[in-house]
Symmetry: D3
């Protein structure tokens, strides 16, 4: 975790970075329920889950999203702030014991309406250990233009 | 927390439900950092935050989202599943001690491409105790059509 | 979780409500030890437990009670407050992986000594996934009488 | 934490032990909510609590009980097991920042119906830092009689 | 947990105390990562660990140390304070499911430079359930000399 | 968090790296107690602490050590493993609200007894927000020599 200034002009379309992996454990399921207050049986009742199509407890979508994004939190860009996310999709269920990692690709750059700033889109894909995408989303960053010197 | 079947036809545009409130504490900040691995100083370094425009620690966007959505987790609809979220926006910073509640409005209904299912959009707004929207997003539900009897 | 006024007169003897289930995990055992400071080997030392009659770690009684009661926390009655519990009994051991649910029955109503209030007893039974009662207790509620209109 | 055999005959009516203290923090409130799933506003919504008679968040009864009992978990008596609790009463509200300690008094001894065992009652009182009892209960222990040698 | 005054003169070389055991669970691994911010794959990525010599996740050294020392926290000596540790060594890896206990031996006594105080060294060994030492260290205590009466 | 091979020859005496800061909160105190089982009143009883010289709760030494070391966990060197720590000293008390950061200096290099490996000592100092060292220690790394090509 460190600071590194990256301006709008420094982002290159197609650039990609990949995180290390993290195994999602039963502990994470229980912690996420307790953290958010969502105790739905899909996530916490192993007996009920046995009667369902997926056959076992599945991760909260908000957990896969939060931990998958957390994995990307290494370099702090003081020239950027997060505006939000578009097209967040839950693509495959995540089970206890799956190991996820995230891949971030610079997918779009537009000079924003806000003077002095541009918008950079990071396409984020979260993979399980089988190489399947389990969640995808577009992270919208508002980034300063490089200061001009007269 | 209970099961209640609600079919596509049962959702009414403009219907609204409001949750109770929950105060976001320093504990939640620390738990979210530990849960996601995001220890950025914006959330955890009170000294550094004093030197920044907001002057104090701000909540992780993924935490406001996860807890705000968690607040809505009361009625389980076995006829629906979550496809994802659109237009997730971080509108105002959330500080230690703010109390949030969520408001869910049925904002769109479209007969989906998947036969037997429609898509229902829940517009979610998360408010602080001053009545300001701090986060908004559109939750996309895929919902079964009501079974037809010949 | 929502508010609903229920007065003393509204409680009906024999009325019953049942909660959804929750699987008690190793995580819950560890969290409860850390939360309460009770690190007795019965709950946390798998090796020692192998030498004991039950053969494996057993849940803290206070945890089965706290989570079993927590499962019933859905409807908030602003006309009632909790006075305490009688006849709390640990009936069967609970092991890692057991799934519990709670059943609440209105078992007694007495006009209390406190003017304007009555006492309602909720008999609570906590079941495991085999349908066995693992814990039982009587929850004592002090409830307002319905306001009289002249 | 250590083992020490104490038989039914070894318990003396009126014997008393007192624990050290522990300050109940906002963290404990949040952890207990997440552990049990009870997110009632009485415990977690500081804004709503301001509108109530007590004016601030109050501890879950199950938490004061669990932590107060946890404080007594030091000596393990392999000759005894816990049968349950009687007359558990919530006497005063406990607020964030209160410091509790527990006092255990041997209050009753009866030769049980189970041959070779007696029942010992420990009267437990949990105090705040003002010396007020906030919770009281009777802990029921089933204890082996001292083995007889011919 | 209780207070007991022990002066420098009261410590006897070779005296030994042994703690009860505690099983280190996957939960402890996840909690320690979240508590310290160390999410190295050695501790949290089960898939990557399969490709490594040890074949599975290994405990953080700081966790084995912290929990092993925590196991010894029973008697509080108001006449002593902890100066630090020497020769802390990670001797064997600790895996999920290992049960540890600690053994503390008074290994050295020196009259310190600080008048009225001596230094006592506690040699701490942490064992797994196979009787193997997994971590060793020397705890340095600064202890008051017994007050002299004229 | 990323892998980067650094061999014994690549370490330069006097090289220094500094981490970002983290505020130690009441939450961290409570979590550490629950994680390690050390509930000594020095860390958890605010009332008792008022009667002591330091006047308030102080952090567990094992917590300052574990979190301070955790702050340094960014670059993973697959050519090194941790042997342990020497001269770990608790220099100043850490209170709730202090913000710590760590500074790591390469302080010693010795060709080890183990063929193909050397020993590198990282001197670690943990500072509070006043620039005072609160804890210091020497981290001992065993590091591969750079492979020789014929």
């Amino acid at each position: 975790m460190y600071f590194k200034s990256t301006f709008f002009e420094d982002y290159t379309l197609g650039d990609k970075r990949v995180t290390l992996g993290r195994t999602l454990t039963e502990t994470d399921f229980v912690v996420h329920a307790g953290h958010t207050g969502d105790f739905f049986p899909h996530h916490l009742d192993a007996e009920w889950c046995k009667t369902q199509p997926f056959g076992q407890r599945i991760a909260h979508g908000t957990m896969v999203f939060s931990i998958g994004i957390g994995l990307t939190a290494s370099e702090i860009n003081p020239e950027a702030f997060s505006k939000g996310y578009d097209r967040l999709r839950f693509i495959k269920p995540v089970f206890i014991g799956n190991t996820i990692r995230s891949e971030v690709t610079i997918s779009e750059k537009t000079e924003g309406k806000k003077p002095g700033y541009g918008q950079v889109t990071e396409h984020v894909e979260i993979f399980n250990e089988h190489g399947e995408v389990v969640l995808a989303c577009d992270h919208l960053l508002v980034v300063k233009l490089r200061p001009q010197h007269a």
